[in-house]
């Protein structure tokens, strides 16, 4: 019995200490030491640097605006879809999934193809008006805000939509039957009830914007516009600068502090305001759009065409372009970029293999660990459970750039004779740490639904703990295991933020390939590869939805 406990506990402890606790401590250690001696020099250097304050301001500036914009769009769309007689609702519900499924850095590349300095919009504008200057400058703050908002509004949309659909319809009905107009009902009943959800959605958008690396990297570097994540990236790579890793570590703590502060603020403001929203019984009343119905329908359609379809079409056309700079036309279209990609650049295949293997391995590790963690969380009363939970959530709660830096600092030098740096293992360790919590959630939820009496019956009939786990518990939670596996694997396939700092010769990921090709100025090739990545992302997500919904019904 104790041996089994040890067998279960040992790998769990090893992973959580080795992949989470130790790197976190090393990160903090590097922030407050120089050459092994404790000092506040890094902190002082960061706080006295006017440049850093500007970068911090940039981070907050773009995130706040993107949150306002994305939050408003997401909330508005959720209300239109859930509470009005908007035509074509089912199509919109599906279409609104699309921006959610596209990796943010791919969205940035797509917007570059559409609205970049020589993107289709500006080319058309200059051709039509004869203007010498582009209509819109996508490099810099405004472009970053736009693409951040459009990449993240689905988070606000989903949160508010869920709240609207759970709301007790009787409340709105009561208002309406007491003579309140639809607008008044919306203002005085619906809005206050979903306010916590709007706030939660906005916080989610804000945090994702703060921690995003791909969008500010692609749209910020050319304008020399840095936010905290890209500044940390640049500082890590700036080895000419003395103590660059220590400074990057200090910047990381600053970034974590800002994100943590926002979370704490949210708890304080929204903490006591969770209204008793029951599961909806019956249909909630629908606000009629009346004579505006068609106009609003057309407006939403145009919005989706302009923000989802147009950028994707633009990057697809770029990927199919033969010669850059020639006028657009059939004769300038062809598949040659894809041909170059697949037959002349063998590293593309290896990167794809690496990404798939990394995602599958990380997800498998994560699910196995998730079983142990969920078991401890739900079934035992050991002390330090809260600490365990914190360790699991931490690598997902902090920005990916910070996780990558912690991994570099922890594993740059061989540790206990094991050298992880410059191998694929450091990426794997980072992925397991980062995506573990995604696998734990469904598994822990499934554990709570399996009543202990089943296990107890097995145990009292003489089955060992491992036997009862194997024969009773695991079969009952298998659908949760599968969905946990996919939830962890899918974001890992198209991951960029961690791998861009951790890759090495032979260990590149597909996200890194797209990013590097873009950095090198290979517009046509990077667009073609972005199309491939998008296809992989959409397929794996469809698979995920098919599998999880299929298993949930079974």
């Amino acid at each position: 019995m104790p041996i089994l406990r040890l067998l279960l506990g040992l790998p769990l402890g090893l992973v959580l200490v080795g992949a989470v606790a130790y790197p976190s401590l090393i990160l903090v250690w590097h922030a407050f030491t120089r050459d092994g001696r404790p000092t506040l020099a890094n902190l002082a250097a960061v706080l006295h640097d006017a440049d850093i304050w500007r970068v911090l301001w940039n981070s907050v500036h773009v995130s706040v605006w993107a949150t306002l914009l994305g939050g408003a769009v997401g909330t508005g769309l959720a209300f239109l879809v859930a509470r009005t007689d908007l035509p074509g609702q089912r199509i919109f519900r599906t279409a609104l999934m699309v921006p959610y499924l596209i990796p943010p850095f791919i969205a940035a590349l797509a917007w570059l193809a559409l609205a970049g300095p020589v993107g289709f919009v500006n080319q058309l504008w200059m051709a039509v008006t004869g203007a010498e200057e582009p209509l819109f400058r996508i490099y810099g703050a405004r472009g970053i805000i736009l693409v951040l908002a459009l990449a993240h509004y689905p988070l606000a949309y989903f949160t508010v939509l869920a709240s609207l659909e759970r709301m007790d319809p009787a409340l709105e009905e009561a208002a309406r039957s007491s003579g309140a107009s639809p607008a008044r009902t919306a203002r005085d009943v619906t809005l206050p009830l979903v306010a916590p959800a709007i706030g939660a959605g906005a916080i989610l958008v804000f945090l994702r914007c703060m921690e995003n690396f791909g969008i500010p990297a692609i749209l910020g570097f050319p304008a020399k516009y840095f936010v905290l994540t890209t500044k940390i990236y640049a500082t890590i790579l700036d080895f000419d600068r003395a103590h660059n890793l220590g400074l990057a570590a200090t910047l990381s703590l600053l970034l974590v502090a800002v994100a943590g502060g926002v979370l704490a603020l949210q708890r304080r403001i929204l903490g006591g305001r969770a209204y008793g929203l029951t599961r909806a019984v019956g249909q909630p009343p629908i606000f009629s759009l009346g004579q505006w119905r068609r106009t609003v329908g057309i407006a939403v359609t145009v919005f989706l065409l302009a923000t989802s379809v147009a950028p994707l079409l633009a990057i697809l056309l770029t990927a199919l372009t033969r010669a850059y700079g020639m006028p657009f036309g059939w004769s300038n279209l062809g598949l040659q970029n894809f041909h170059t990609l697949f037959f002349k650049v063998p590293v593309v295949w290896r990167a794809m293999r690496n990404s798939l293997v990394l995602a599958a391995s990380a997800a498998t590790f994560a699910v196995v660990l998730a079983i142990l963690i969920a078991y401890v969380q739900v079934r035992t009363r050991v002390r330090g459970k809260g600490f365990l939970e914190a360790l699991v959530i931490l690598p997902f709660a902090v920005p990916g750039t910070v996780v990558a830096l912690a991994m570099i600092l922890a594993f740059l030098r061989p540790l206990l004779g094991l050298s992880l740096y410059n191998t694929i293992w450091i990426i794997l360790v980072a992925y397991v740490a980062r995506f573990l919590t995604l696998a734990v959630k469904p598994v822990a939820a499934a554990f709570t639904q399996v009543h202990t009496s089943l296990e107890e019956a097995a145990r009292s009939s003489g089955a060992s703990l491992s036997r009862s786990l194997r024969d009773i518990t695991i079969p009952l939670i298998r659908s949760a295991l599968v969905s946990g596996w996919f939830l962890a694997a899918v974001p890992a396939i198209t991951e960029l933020t961690l791998s861009v700092l951790l890759w090495s010769a032979g260990n590149e990921t597909i996200g890194v390939m797209v990013f590097n090709m873009h950095e090198e100025g290979k517009v046509l090739l990077s667009s073609a590869l972005a199309i491939v990545v998008m296809a992989v992302a959409l397929t794996s997500n469809l698979l995920l939805r098919r599998l999880t919904s299929g298993l949930a019904e079974a």
Partner: protein, 337 residues
């Protein structure tokens, strides 16, 4: 409907199987080829990969592993690895000859001169064969053929007022080629800082990389630019409306040396790759990719003028001594941060 147990076992087996397969697969690259040759480079990704395929085909059993990024990123990675106690790289190949000089001074480069290399001009073998110029890149003047009616002929055309605001160059802070050009021209009779002041007067746009300059030349955002030659030939071959000239004052050679590191894990394989780069096959592939071969007798790429070409060698001695001063003056002149 199968029993849940069987389904669970099946899924479990599948997961474990997939994982084992994956680990074997991921590990296989390192296992099958005992020690691959690892190259850290800033070479064009697609070109160096094409070269890898050809090299591996001609040298069965030797695998070439490539880490490719911008020159500055590659140097940063090397520096980090040296600090941490050793790099994975066997060879390096990039556009910062200063860095090679520095490594040679620290005795970190292994001297090796393949037999074929002796046919190349001696000036392209540096420090007793510690690093080599295996093919030639030049900085030249290029123009957009849809925007520019009369073909330019000189570096001075970049300061022609008719192109005001439509002139692009790469930043010497990012591009090794741009830095070599700057350091050479400020010490060249008839140029000097005066030339750069005139460029500024012509509202020149300083872009980060040569790739971006070439891209924006193709789209017509720029009319004339200073850019490395092969990118223009490549774009022209693909059908873009661009061409480069051979300036009458001479094109500037941009050093992009290759060297083998001491302590390479596969020194024999690294030497084989250097031999390949100098081989007629390697040199012909360079020409096919648009580079000027370093060996005499190999036909150059299409689009290189056939007459005797004026070449200005990089003023390495001056650049080495005035590195910081050059950067500071440039920064001040163009008000870069």
């Amino acid at each position: 409907m199968r029993r849940p147990m069987e389904v669970a076992k099946l899924i479990g087996l599948l997961l474990v199987g997939l994982w084992v397969l994956g680990v074997i697969w991921a590990g296989s690259a390192e296992v099958s080829a005992a020690a691959p040759v690892t190259l850290y480079t800033s070479e064009s990704l697609d070109k160096v990969n094409e070269m890898k395929l050809d090299f591996e085909k001609r040298n069965p059993g030797v695998a070439l592993n490539i880490y490719r990024s911008g020159t500055q990123v590659v140097i940063s990675k090397l520096q980090a690895e040296f600090q941490a106690g050793g790099t994975l790289a066997d060879m390096i190949w990039m556009a910062d000859i200063d860095y090679f000089e520095d490594l040679a001074r620290k005795d970190l480069l292994a001297a090796y001169t393949p037999p074929e290399a002796d046919k190349a001009p001696a000036k392209f073998k540096y420090e007793g064969g510690r690093y080599h110029e295996v093919r030639l890149i030049f900085n030249t003047v290029a123009y957009n053929t849809l925007r520019v009616k009369t073909r330019p002929s000189s570096w001075k055309d970049l300061t022609d007022p008719q192109f005001k605001g439509k002139v692009g160059v790469a930043s010497p802070f990012y591009s090794g080629a741009a830095f070599s050009t700057l350091g050479t021209q400020v010490n060249l009779p008839g140029f000097g800082w005066e030339f750069y002041r005139k460029l500024k007067g012509n509202a020149v746009v300083v872009e980060q990389s040569n790739g971006t300059v070439a891209k924006k030349l193709a789209t017509g955002e720029f009319s004339v630019v200073s850019v490395v030659d092969f990118m223009v030939r490549e774009a022209k071959a693909a059908g873009s409306p661009v061409d480069h000239i051979w300036p009458k004052e001479g094109a500037i050679l941009v050093p992009t040396p290759v060297g083998i590191l001491k302590g390479a894990k596969n020194p024999e394989g690294a030497r084989a790759f250097l031999r390949y780069l100098y081989s007629p096959e390697g040199q012909r592939l360079f020409a096919q990719q648009g580079y000027v071969p370093v060996l005499p007798g190999i036909e150059g790429p299409r689009g290189v003028p056939s007459e005797k070409l004026e070449v200005v060698l990089t003023d390495q001695a001056y650049i080495g001594k005035h590195r910081e001063e050059l950067k500071a003056k440039y920064r001040e002149l163009f008000e870069l941060k």
